[in-house]
Symmetry: C2
Subunit: 536 residues, 2 copies
């Protein structure tokens, strides 16, 4: 066994060690009250004693007693994902729908035993992953009779490494840092870095089609899955380990993105990389948002396949990298374990400069294998720090009257300018109606030759106690606009329960029927994560 994961906080993004103190939050409340002239107080933080969790409604069979936990800590810490709503409810101590049992199987036989028990007894099963869902993907539904949350945290091993094919067989419960630690002695890395990297698992990434490090070319975790095993109430689906195949619709692609509604992914053969030896990194400023997105279109369409290719609008470029508020920032990075990347960077820079981007030659950082620093200095380094620290920042102020969240999508280039305008208009109106001193900004987290994946961030000052209602007003406007303007309700945050109304509009109705029919085969009693993606 590797070192146990640090204990997840019952309310904060991250672990217990990431929790601010009540004193810190009290000070934050005073600052917010003074700065925005609103009434706000920091309530006492939730404790296990204060929660008074509903007693478990489930009797665990003796044979499963070792792995089926009903203590308050495990039930409370698996009550919520980490959506804005979850975080508000959690910090306010509203734990009204905890799971009845948290099962932590140590191997596949134990997973199978849990599924059989739950299928027979009619308990809902919720695969938890790392619990970082921001779309209510792991919340026990309020109307479920009894809920067993399935936590694969004990199944966190890299089981096999095939260095020749550059692939590794990894258990689904491995968290990002843990699997990287195990791959490192082989000089290999998955290099899948969703923003939740530290607090999410391989199984969760696959089940939700996570978006990772590779900002172009192989963007989603989908492309790194060589084969997988998924346990369903009806049995196991294991795909053959293959570099490619044309044998019928891909079985993997049914499991990838299924969000626990068909079964639980227990392990996968993943395509891994040699650790990068060659790197290059640069940040280019563009005089405006429009010039910047026209520039990044040209870079991505050249198919140089940078590992990092991101774009920050003027608001984000100012906040994250200190630019002047009119300029946009394009971040471009290449990496390889096998071949120097300088030539690609030179081509990308030439294209970006021709499109109006600016960067000094001495700020184009190239490491040709000597370990020269790249990507951790200047504006790029500033952006990187901001990216990694982002999700935890709300711990200090959550529930203190501020309303802030992100939403992400993808859209083809031809529709992008009108899409951006429509989304900003609709969300701006909703923000005007709900929040004071709001801001709205956008970045491209990933880019494709045929379109960007825009990621919007909004924040503002609402009313303490009304944050959830205010949030939903804005979310509704944002999601309605995204769908009406042709985007997807999610590029990499998944659907869960929160995105259902818009996912239902987006996905073909006959596909939902096909998915429902598949579910009836694999999960005949309908116990697997009901309410995500489809209704029974």
């Amino acid at each position: 066994m590797t070192t146990p994961t640090p204990r997840r906080s019952i309310w904060a993004w991250g672990n217990e060690s990431d929790e601010p103190s009540h004193a810190d939050r009290h000070a934050a409340a005073q600052r917010i009250a003074a700065q925005h002239r609103i009434d706000v107080t920091a309530a006492p933080l939730p404790t296990l004693a204060s929660l008074q969790l509903r007693p478990s409604r489930v009797t665990v069979p003796a044979a499963l007693a070792d792995i089926c936990h009903q203590d308050d800590y495990l039930r409370a810490s698996r009550t919520f994902g980490r959506s804005f709503v979850d975080r508000i409810r959690a910090v306010n101590g509203d734990f009204s729908d905890p799971p009845d049992v948290v099962a932590r199987p140590r191997d596949e036989d134990e997973v199978r035993a849990v599924l059989e028990w739950c299928s027979d007894a009619g308990h809902v099963v919720i695969p938890f992953g790392g619990g970082s869902s921001v779309v209510a993907g792991v919340n026990p539904p309020a109307d479920a009779g009894s809920v067993v949350t399935l936590d694969l945290g004990e199944m966190n091993q890299v089981l096999q490494v095939d260095a020749t094919s550059r692939a590794a067989r990894i258990q689904a419960g491995a968290f990002g840092p843990d699997l990287e630690t195990q791959l490192k002695p082989h000089d290999l890395t998955l290099r899948h870095f969703p923003q939740s990297f530290q607090h999410s698992t391989l199984g969760g990434w696959i089940a939700t089609r996570s978006g990772g490090h590779y900002a172009t070319n192989h963007t989603h975790i989908d492309e790194f899955v060589e084969s997988l095993r998924m346990l369903t109430p009806a049995g196991v689906i294991e795909s053959r380990r293959l570099p490619g195949s044309g044998a019928g619709p891909s079985p993997d692609r049914l499991a990838i993105g299924s969000e626990g509604m068909l079964g639980v992914i227990t392990e996968a053969w993943m395509r891994v990389q040699p650790r990068p030896r060659f790197r290059a990194s640069a940040g280019l400023t563009f005089p405006s948002w429009e010039s910047a997105y026209k520039g990044i279109l040209r870079v991505v369409q050249a198919k140089l396949w940078p590992a990092n290719l991101r774009l920050l609008d003027p608001v984000e470029a100012k906040n994250a990298a200190g630019l002047d508020g009119a300029q946009s920032l394009m971040i471009v990075g290449f990496e390889s374990g096998d071949a120097p990347v300088g030539p690609y960077m030179a081509q990308a820079i030439a294209i970006a400069r021709e499109a109006g981007g600016s960067v000094d030659d001495d700020e184009i950082l190239i490491d040709d294998g000597q370990g020269a620093p790249t990507g951790r200095e200047g504006p790029v380094g500033a952006w990187r720090k901001s990216f990694l620290d982002g999700p935890g920042q709300g711990n200090l102020t959550m529930g203190l009257g501020l309303v802030a969240d992100t939403f992400e999508t993808a859209i083809t280039w031809d529709r992008w300018p009108a899409f951006d305008a429509a989304v900003r208009e609709a969300v701006g109106q909703a923000l005007d109606a709900t929040l004071q001193g709001w801001s709205l900004s956008c970045r491209f987290t990933h880019v494709y030759p045929d379109g960007p994946a825009p990621y919007y961030t909004f924040s503002g000052v609402g009313r303490q106690g009304a944050e959830i209602e205010q949030f939903f007003t804005i979310k509704q406007a944002a999601a309605d606009a995204v769908i009406a303007a042709g985007g997807t309700i999610t590029h990499h945050h998944a659907v869960g329960r929160q995105h259902r109304p818009w996912y239902d509009q987006q996905r073909p109705e006959l596909f939902a029927r096909a998915l429902r029919a598949a579910k009836r085969e694999l999960d005949p009693n309908g116990i697997m994560n009901p309410g995500v993606l489809i209704d029974p």
Copy 2:
């Protein structure tokens, strides 16, 4: 309307203009008889008059009379795909299972009307594509009561071009050359070149997960589908046009590879390319097969993403490019419409040379936008001609006692050497038992960082009249070995009916149940191409 496609031959690979004469075949028979000392005669070629097709068992409704054809030519020319068995049966005039009707709808409303009629009346519907299936994917099953073959040849238009996003909306019935002709005025190209390019359609490529030009990175047509429309007996599935999405399992991936068993793809938004301006091409010799596949592994794992990266074993390198019979040939090519590719070629050459590959500097052909020749000279050019001419070569000798076919697969690198040995051993034994003067060779048509897609070719002298039986002895041995050694039964030829026994072993049984359940929703009366992929 564009120029009508030339008339498909009822028996030969290609069109009527590709048919050799009886005199040509008679001369070929005499050469074969003399060279191999066997008895062989060229029977008269099949003609519509000689076939005596079974009368149609279907009465076409008056409303569909314009598009539902029952004449002998259309029925005979849509009786077969182009597998070895099909070609033997066709040249021998064994047309015992023709479709009863060939429907050629001109728009989606007419497709819908045909599906509704057939679903109500219980007629089997077989989407025909270009009819180039080599796996019995388009053959009317012998036990079907009545069969309507659906030919989308009249729906062959590029409907919309989005030059900004580099995407085009194309009707599924467009053949390769036809869609390229329509894209050319926009300076765009799909550049999907399966070996059947001239005789296959976009819809067929998508329904069978065709493998194309891009020998690395985006290998299958799957990656070029931005969205699609599929008509099923239960209605239409249309996916949203998006550059990427993480919203649940991909609806497109259910249709891609469904081989007509769920519905018929009517159109798709495809990701297209600018026509290449920058190119580079080279052929490297390696002293042996083993050194060559070890070399190509290193090239592909560097992720330089060449558009062409193929490997010919010593037999193929000798036959196609005149090498010495011990050497292998690696073909590597880069192309781009946006940026010079010289730097990538330099890196690929350096890696390949370090791995033991040889090429003179002046045989590395680079076109930096001036139109210098690349890829049509020397050994690479010889290979290219052989590739394009390949499938048609059998027209002269089919049914004259020779037995020849190809089979293709994919396997991870760690298992590859043992896989190759096992396949050659098993197939060699079967060839020994059935054919005289046989040969067996292999090339990699596509390569992945985690494994190659090997493509084997066998041929030899069998017994006229027994070719089909002899073929199946060899096919059985080959497919058994491929599956036992861990490969896929097909990398890009599809499953159809011919690969069913091995596909059934390869794909997870629960996935088949899910697929069957999906089919019941989309095709409740089970009319769509029964027998491919699954049994009802």
